[in-house]
Amino acid sequence: MNAPTTEPILGGTYKEGFHDDIKALHKVPKGPSHEVIDYMCDVKGEPDWMRRFRHRSLDLFLKQDLPAWMPGLRDIDYDAITYYASPVEKSARRWEDVPEEIRRTYDKLGIAKEEQKLLGGLGAQIDSEMAYHNIQDSLAKKGIVFLSCDDGMKEYPDIFKEHFAKAIPPEDNKFAALNSAFWSGGSFVYIPKGVKSDIPLSVYFRINAEQFGQFERTLIICEDDSFCHYVEGCSAPVYTTNSLHAAVVEIFVKERARCRYTTIQNWSTDVYNLVTKRAFAYKGAVMEWVDGNLGSKRTVKYPSVYMVGEGAHGEILSLASADKNMWQDAGAKLVFYAPNCTGRINSKSISGHGGRASYRGLVQMNPQAKDCRVQVNCDALILDPQSRTDTYPTMEVDGDLATVEHEASVSNVSEEQIFYLMSRGIKKEDAVSMIVNGFIEPIVKELPMEFAVEINRLINLQMEGSVG
């Protein structure tokens, strides 16, 4: 159990696949039960309303069935999963106070202390709890709050209660209900009126335990005229059993505020990644999701923007790479509830080594959505005949004068392009990698530099040996 596991499920290229022997301070019996909820509430010292909310959510989870269109999830064994485990008592504000064995894990993942210098704030969650959460003084002085979600509930109970589960109630879907029952960790971000958080706040999620369920919950509130960029990354060890990651992210972008939420998801192929992400954009607000899905066994995730105020703008850039043993069911939702709003979805997917990438999207224009415009582009690149791509776009237009544009393309890495690049002295594998990296460039260029470099590295690893 001590040796890092590097089982070559991904041809040995998944460098985050190790696990460390970290002792859990809290561990509960397997399976989703009301007893586990009570244990968590006791340990965390939570208010009664939250205890009731969790119990109600568990009932909803147990009652609710999976939607018929959501295939490939029936084999999840919920009873084999541990719903709460924590190697830490509380989240440290100084890196030195993080237990050494956990720091070692983060060192191996390259989330070195230096990163803080580039970031406005850094959080690090391992299994159920945040091991570290800190914000730069300069941002804290402006009144920006960046805490673990649990601490947010304790320190800002009114703001928390006003927004929590208001964008995504537990009734929304089975996995939102599951998260609502067992949520732990994640971030609470509050940007006061007119404050611009010009450096990104970043959080790294790590699953270390086996057959584990991570249910972090993130709540971001951007008050009028504010700005926030939040960046998250994630990884997990390679085991032979499955884990579950069911997060909920709720964002409120108030009048004329702007929020950008960037995700680089690189779970091991043991992880079911079932995430609900939704933002409300008020009058003149701008919400941008940049969603990169490079790992997991199965991802089901459609970041959404509900435009509830006049002139709001919602934008989703989605990048999915489905390698061997992966099925990325990623996409986006734009829902229009107000006039003069605009939206754009730009989705790019790559499938190789028998992987499958699906785009599933919804554009909904409600009767209030007068003079709204939306543009959807989805492009898929298939690297070999074993791999697969599908597109499931849904358009529901019930508004006046709405403009909806949809373009989709599926392409292969063409022989002609490979020959052209090779005729300039470039080796075949480098030529293929250039073409693939070029394909995703429009999305990668939107990412912070370190993330762009990381994405290119991961894509190149996945490319190895594809296209004979």
Partner: protein, 257 residues
């Protein structure tokens, strides 16, 4: 041997159709050859077969560059050895910035990481020859380029890669007179004792700006007539008809002078 490019009895086919039927041609460094021919005579097949396009298969004959058998090499190896093909229809590679691509290609050609400063100095100088501005190399490779821009880009790559033998596949087609002049200026800049150039063209027009040392006429997969620059002028005045009629008896030995 070290300064010749020899095509010996070359037969090549596309999708089971034989296009080249025994083509012979020798190009020495310092020479500019023009290969002219009507549509369907095999001009582009020759260009693609020389570079090793997998869609074209060589069924017989040899291609020797500096004495080495090109047919045993992949296209990238041919390029690194000093062969260059300016494409008739350069393809678009979205998301790949031209300057990055050029740098990687130059590194591949010389077999090591070249000094970035030296690279950009050279690039700037070559761009001036071709009347293109800095924005040009910041664009994605051929994406959204006009026909003329694509051809300029081919010549820019040719100037940057310092080939020992260059084949230009109908570079003049679809160019207006100004673009044609610019492209010709690029070729004349490159011309010299260290390079052999083969200009493949349908029209004599480009040869007003680049005077070839030899002109060959390709008909039905073979060179049927060879001569000096005046042969091109003659073609311009009389078209291809006279040569195709005359071709039959001469066709067996299409060797250049």
């Amino acid at each position: 041997m070290t300064d010749t490019f020899e095509i010996i009895d070359l037969h090549a086919k596309v999708e089971d159709r034989e296009i080249l039927k025994g083509l012979n041609l020798t190009i020495r460094k310092g020479e500019v050859h023009a290969l002219m021919g009507p549509n369907g005579s095999g001009k582009s097949t020759l260009a693609n077969a020389l570079m090793g396009n997998p869609k074209y298969s060589v069924t017989q004959g040899k291609i020797l560059m500096k004495g080495e058998n090109l047919l045993e090499m992949e296209p990238d190896e041919r390029a690194r050895k000093g062969l260059f093909l300016a494409f008739q229809y350069p393809c678009e590679v979205p998301g790949v910035r031209l300057s990055n691509f050029l740098r990687l290609a130059c590194n591949a050609r010389v077999g090591k990481e070249i000094d970035p400063m030296g690279f950009y100095d050279k690039l700037e100088q070559k761009m001036k020859y071709l009347d293109v501005d800095e924005q040009f190399v910041r664009r994605y490779l051929n994406e959204g380029f006009s026909g003329g821009e694509k051809k300029r880009n081919e010549i820019l790559q040719m100037l940057m890669l310092d080939p020992e033998f260059a084949v230009m596949d109908e570079t003049d087609s679809g160019l207006d007179i100004d673009a044609l002049k610019v492209v010709s200026r690029g070729v004349n800049e490159l011309r010299g004792p260290d390079i052999g150039i083969l200009i493949i063209t349908h029209y004599e027009r480009i040869l007003r700006y680049i005077t070839p040392d030899f002109v060959h006429i390709l008909v039905d997969g073979k060179i049927v007539k060879s001569g000096g620059a005046d042969l091109a002028t003659h073609l311009e005045e009389h078209g291809y008809d006279w040569i195709t009629k005359e071709a039959e008896p001469v066709a067996a030995k299409g060797k250049q002078p």
